[in-house]
Amino acid sequence: MDKSTLAVLGYGMSFQDSEVAATMGFEHADMQPSVLPARLRRRTSVATKMAMTAAERACVMAACEPSELPVIFTSALGEAGVTDQLCREIAKENFPLSPTKFHNSVHNTASGYWSIAVGSKHPAMAMGGYQDSFALGLMEAWSQLHTVASRVLLVCYEETPSDLLCQDGSWEGCASALVLGRGAAHQPQLGMPYTVPQVAAELLTSPALAAVPLLNMLQQGLSGKVQVSDAGVQGWYVDVLNDDA
């Protein structure tokens, strides 16, 4: 493999609404976080459940043991729903807050429950880059794979935020996951993400949907340049190299 590319070992998607999934070319992309024990499934958010589902699908496709992968979870807002509920309680001065909601509002809730559910002692990153969250997650994966890691699980997710938080249109809840590696032959390859200046636009859709065109290309075994961010003053792109194409 070319040292300057990343190998895609597996990928997966999960949508809050499976009808939306179908319009984007994904079947069987509903929310089924079987990795979570039932008692945790009841107390975790849509964001966490979507992220877990996509992550699990990517690991299955990559035939990877989930506990062996460092993880990068990237999301503009993370636990937007739990945060909304807590801010409403705070506005009403309805104290004490729920301790469970409080610890489930941290940005590393999804990555934390993932590491507990699969028993992973590997590092867990929880990051965000607003409209560029997915592209910057790819850059973080790139830096890890060129320094300390041989494989990583990258998960990009976003649930639909309340209109008190976000008035810029409704964001479709969606999660994508990629198992990325170095040194694997016969796998689709990703070049280093790069930026191209563009006319800045308002972000109207979920930042997590920025992963959809890339995953569509992987599904179809295509090669070429694909945008991996939306809006912003610069667009992020990645070149996909598929031997089969």
Binding site: L86, N104, V106, G128, H146
Partner: protein, 403 residues
């Protein structure tokens, strides 16, 4: 691991604006925790609030205006804008597109979100000044600094609770080693808010008195706020103050809020940091502990210390001075470790009167001045069992280069 140079750092804490004020507080060892002013809950707590007037965000960046952004701005502007000037020099040397920014935070600008929700509860509409993307989103403070410093390299936010900014420093090293940037502004910024004050209280983790980490009678945390910023540079650096020679990260895979009882994850993070630095545990001259002042955190961390280090490895906790600054703690405590290197002293443990009888380590209670400090470690552990450990050295040390 490829060591990276630290060419500037700046800290804003309850001890004051700038590293000189922090250093003074470390030497004098007088707590900067007081009864709360900004947010006054109906239960007793002490907090490490910044009482100085914070600078105002310039009008063309007003969409970013939040307490978090103003605290970050104070870290750029304090001490004659020394940090801002160091970054400007790096931009001249490498080009703006080769300088990135990664900021850890646990709160981002949620203080403004809370106010917007209060406004909505009273008036039926969100506050006009509220800007979710530029105040509340996880990248907001990093994005603000990117514009303030006119950088165009990689920019993102990290939020892994109390390990956030320790991980931002590690991520900055990776960006330089992998060649994606030549210099990185890294660190953490956190600000007081109802969510953390009432949230930690709901978990019964806040102390009614100033926190006393490592003490037999410790009874919880005191929240703080602040910013810690570091400038990392690769081989192109002209003059370095210190070097980051190792980092380790791990997950407990145990519990969302409770640390592993034996500190397995913390031990793993410290061991990986030592391995990457090519150092044996006995070469570490000082460990700045995470030591929040809760019964379980301090016990877990000291058990990890006992498993890895000899009893004479000196360590201390500094949250009795600054409070627990959560997402900024990793960067602020990294800077305390760097001040220990630069000024050749071991910080004490403010508030400590009776060391927990289980802890057999060389816990330093009063600051010690001496002349042979070469390697220092800083630990931070967060919710989700998220652990990070960093090792810094003076500039003239030669380490191995494992991993």
């Amino acid at each position: 691991m490829k060591a990276v140079n630290i060419t500037a750092y700046s800290a804003v804490t309850a001890c004051g604006l700038g590293c000189k004020r922090l250093l003074h507080a470390l030497f004098e060892q007088v707590t900067c925790l007081h009864k709360p002013y900004l947010i006054q809950p109906d239960f007793p707590i002490y907090t490490g609030e910044i009482r100085e007037v914070l600078p105002e965000v310039q009008p063309d960046l007003n969409i970013y205006n939040s307490r978090n952004a103003r605290i970050a701005l104070a870290a750029l502007d304090c001490e004659a804008s020394a940090f801002r000037e160091a970054v400007a020099t790096a931009v001249q040397r490498y080009g703006a597109e080769r300088v990135g920014v990664i900021i850890g935070t646990s709160t981002s600008g949620i203080y403004e979100t809370e106010r917007s929700y209060q406004h909505h509860a009273q008036h039926g509409v969100v506050a006009e000044s509220f800007d979710m993307q530029h105040q509340h989103a996880w990248v907001a403070t990093a994005d603000f600094l990117k514009h303030e410093l006119q950088l165009s390299g990689i920019c993102y936010g990290i939020s892994t609770a109390c390990s956030s900014s320790g991980k931002a420093i590690a991520a900055g090293q990776r960006m330089i080693e992998s060649g994606l940037c030549d210099a990185m502004v890294v660190g953490g910024v956190d600000s007081m808010c109802h969510l953390t004050i009432h949230g930690f209280h709901s978990l019964e983790l806040t102390a009614p008195t100033p926190c006393t980490p490592l003490d037999q009678h410790r009874n919880g945390i005191s929240l703080g706020e602040g910013a810690g910023l570091l400038l990392l540079e690769g081989d192109g650096a002209e003059k370095a103050m210190a070097r980051l020679v190792g980092y380790g990260e791990s997950s407990d895979a145990h519990h969302m809020t409770a640390p592993h009882p034996e500190g397995a994850g913390s031990k793993q993070a410290m061991a990986i940091a030592l391995h990457r630095a090519g150092l044996d545990a006995h070469t570490i001259d000082y460990v700045n502990l995470h030591a929040t002042g809760t019964a379980l955190n301090d016990q877990s961390e000291m058990r990890a210390m006992a498993a890895l280090f000899d009893c004479d490895t000196r360590c201390s906790a500094t949250k009795g001075l600054t409070g627990h600054t959560l997402g900024a703690a990793g960067a602020i405590e990294a800077i305390i470790a760097l001040l220990a290197l630069e000024h050749q002293f071991i910080p004490g443990t403010c508030g400590l009167t009776e060391i927990d009888s289980e802890f057999t380590h060389a816990i330093v209670s009063e600051p010690i001045h001496e002349q042979c400090i070469k390697y220092v470690m800083s630990n931070n552990f967060g919710f989700g069992g998220n652990n990070v450990s960093l090792i810094f050295s003076t500039c003239n040390q030669q380490e191995g280069s494992h991993g």
